[in-house]
Symmetry: C3
Subunit: 326 residues, 3 copies
């Protein structure tokens, strides 16, 4: 079983949102998951959306000259709503088809770069992992017995100096995987935190230690960069005094940390050993056959051997075979 817990606070100051503090409850979505944790690093916020009618974002499909260009009721897979069939002004110059949607529609053409919550690089992630090998009824956790609470409060994982501290700096995780956190933060991605328990249970349990390694799970080959990163949309719903509902739509870019636990517990077992030995011996059988072949067909004195090998039965065949026929 795996549990994770993030820590860290940062502030942002933007025109739309003003001065804002971000803490765990704000940037971890959803609040808890199994074996996984998503940390929002970048976002496109569309505040105060309400149900209504508004012009679509202008793109090659939505720009229109007249209502004739807008088919009522139609809804492209990538559109934000259902077209009403009217062609209205999007701004002073451009006209686009009107849609019934959460208005104003989201404009996600420009992804903030650098990432909105770039300070997430210094957030920390505590990973608690318990393993259990039912076969050997052996269990252990990645917080080692000699760990003190004080140590746990202060330590930060480092492959060299601190390989058994279960608290990771997000920036460090990405860096150890050979990527740049700031790049990754912009469009999001998925990091794998691999906990490798490689235990030889013939030896003492104290030698059974976790090894951490990090991989980026969403390979992005620069040469062919189709739909990169990781993002999703969610909304916070409010109701104003009049009771009408409005929401803040957030397109969240971020890094999902998947904790992958694998490990094999080794213990000497007789069965497979015997099976392998057996097969091995059988292979020796080939030797006999080879010897015969060499002796009977290759050596110059082969006929003698052949004679010997097949002599007696032949004799009797001839001798007795005759008698019997009488």
């Amino acid at each position: 079983s795996v549990t994770t817990k993030a820590k860290g606070v940062t502030v942002t100051n933007t025109s739309t949102l003003g001065f804002r503090v971000w803490d765990v409850a704000d940037y971890v979505i959803p609040a808890q998951e199994e074996n996984s944790l998503f940390i929002m690093t970048n976002m496109i916020t569309t505040i105060n959306q309400t149900q209504g009618l508004c012009p679509e974002l202008p793109d090659k499909t939505t720009v229109c000259k007249s209502d004739a260009n807008c088919a009522a009721g139609s809804s492209g897979v990538h559109s934000n709503g259902i077209a009403t069939g009217r062609c209205v002004l999007f701004n002073g110059t451009v006209k686009t088809c009107e849609v019934a949607a959460w208005c104003p529609v989201e404009d996600d053409t420009h992804v903030p770069d650098p990432a909105f919550l770039k300070a997430a690089e210094n957030f920390t992630l505590l990973v608690k992992n318990n393993i259990w090998y039912p076969k050997f009824n052996f269990s252990k956790r990645n917080i080692l017995p000699n760990t003190t609470t004080a140590y746990l409060k202060s330590c930060i994982y480092d492959a060299v100096t601190d390989p058994f501290c279960p608290i990771f700096r997000l920036g460090k995780i990405v860096q150890d995987a050979g990527h740049s956190f700031q790049d990754m933060a912009v469009e999001g991605g998925i990091m794998g935190i691999q906990i490798n328990w490689d235990c030889n249970l013939d030896r003492t349990a104290a030698l059974c230690l976790p090894r951490y390694s990090f991989r980026r799970l969403d390979t992005r080959d620069v040469d062919h960069n189709v739909s990169p990163g990781y993002n999703f949309r969610f909304a916070k719903y409010y109701s104003d005094p009049t009771g009408t509902e409005h929401r803040t739509l957030i397109k969240a870019y971020g890094i999902r940390f998947d904790i992958i636990v694998f490990g094999k517990a080794g213990k000497f077992d007789i069965i497979p050993t015997m099976i392998n030995i057996g097969s091995g011996l059988a292979l020796l059988g080939v030797a006999t056959v080879l010897c015969d072949v060499i002796v009977l067909y290759c050596m110059k004195k082969r006929f003698y051997y052949r004679e010997k090998k097949y002599k007696y039965v032949e004799d009797y065949e001839q001798g007795l075979g005759g008698e019997m026929d009488q």
Copy 2:
């Protein structure tokens, strides 16, 4: 690693909710999950619930004649609240036990049919999957190298015409699994999207391609249909100007899409090959034994063979055995 992303918008027009547009942020709950995505297709909404006292829904346990029928403080597993012990009017005719609960209590006796968001059939689901075989350090994604962004924007998976497009129409998924989307949408269910990577790494990596298949994971045998479908409850919380909290309770029926990735990467390896050959040879050993058995016990001239086979040692036993005794 797997990431999913749904797209699609629909409108509904009901008496309780009025005209309403539904987009991704509304019907995907929770906003993100690992290897899984839930899409709400049907719902029972109970708006404006507040903490308070109200009569239970009438059923055989809650209908009452007088307070005597209602045990205060009791709470059936299926009741919506804690009984106050009073018996109050549910409507003009029926009296039920009063409960302390979120009021009004939810009435989920009638599941909307056809499904409330039946248009979800045309929503699309983009599945991004990266595989990695640590053993061979081979990694690949289901968005193939030759895929262009333009193609990705337009394509829809089809087993025949478009087997490598990672965008699926929900209706198509259910249909390919041999079920009806509209039936499934009403009570919900679970669909498995299986991505099968069956790669022979001795051949070129370009031949290592994903194959998609779909299965309904919640078998529902029509003859024995106990607690079918898939649904859960969640609430959106609001606070009105006076600060008192109220909520909208939603019983969400929907389809959960679990993405199941499996695949084996084959590569010729000598060890297991030898083990199998070895065992095979050993089995040949049986042949010898069989021959002997036939020759020594079945053939009519068996005694000669037997004589031959066991002759010499016996001779010596007799001959020399005697000498030695002297």
Copy 3:
């Protein structure tokens, strides 16, 4: 595939929250997960937080005499916000550094004990599990064919009397795992519900039945109790009439139930059988060798045997070998 559903209602009456009813939508977070369900059993609520400036909680790092003690902009990993650099009164006596944060800051020093929602012990959990063995194309669900809806409404799992009822009392689960629910409820934890399908498909499918077992997955050794339990923070966001956002921060302690399905379907298969037999036979080969060794080197009449064994070829070597040399 696994789906879970919790049921149960309880009431609490505290000074901060007043009289409050808790139902599924309130204590299950998030509303749905794959193979997992979190039930909140204890909580620390900080209501009406708004973005602002407020003094930190007093602890050895935050208590200050003057502004000099507070470095502006600094943010400890465990602090609730970004220090402004001012030293302000926390209460009549203590002064702490001021931070920009969600104010007032959360005070989670005292975990409620007994647990806030201790009544969760009587909540029930319905687990629906469908298995499918692709290899044998055999599928089954843990709601057995003979189960009726009426039975399902009333039954509660019990290892002895009711081993096939898929509805579990939370208290019973923890108890069967050998722990105390009330202890666990305070700081939270993780329970594993193991469903074991051990099917011999050579026999009838009706004998293929699920066995349930329960384990606590977060081992807590009392002697070394570092960061025990399971908790996380989430927030409910509101906006007041003026449009400013405030939230209720909840530090949720609770029990996460992970459903772990494992099982092997056995069916007689010829291939592995032969491989093992083969290896077995090969091992018999050792017998021959041993016999020879004993006969030829250990027994007192060994020379005769040796003579016999190697006689003929030797003869001919001498006899004919000479002829040929001529």
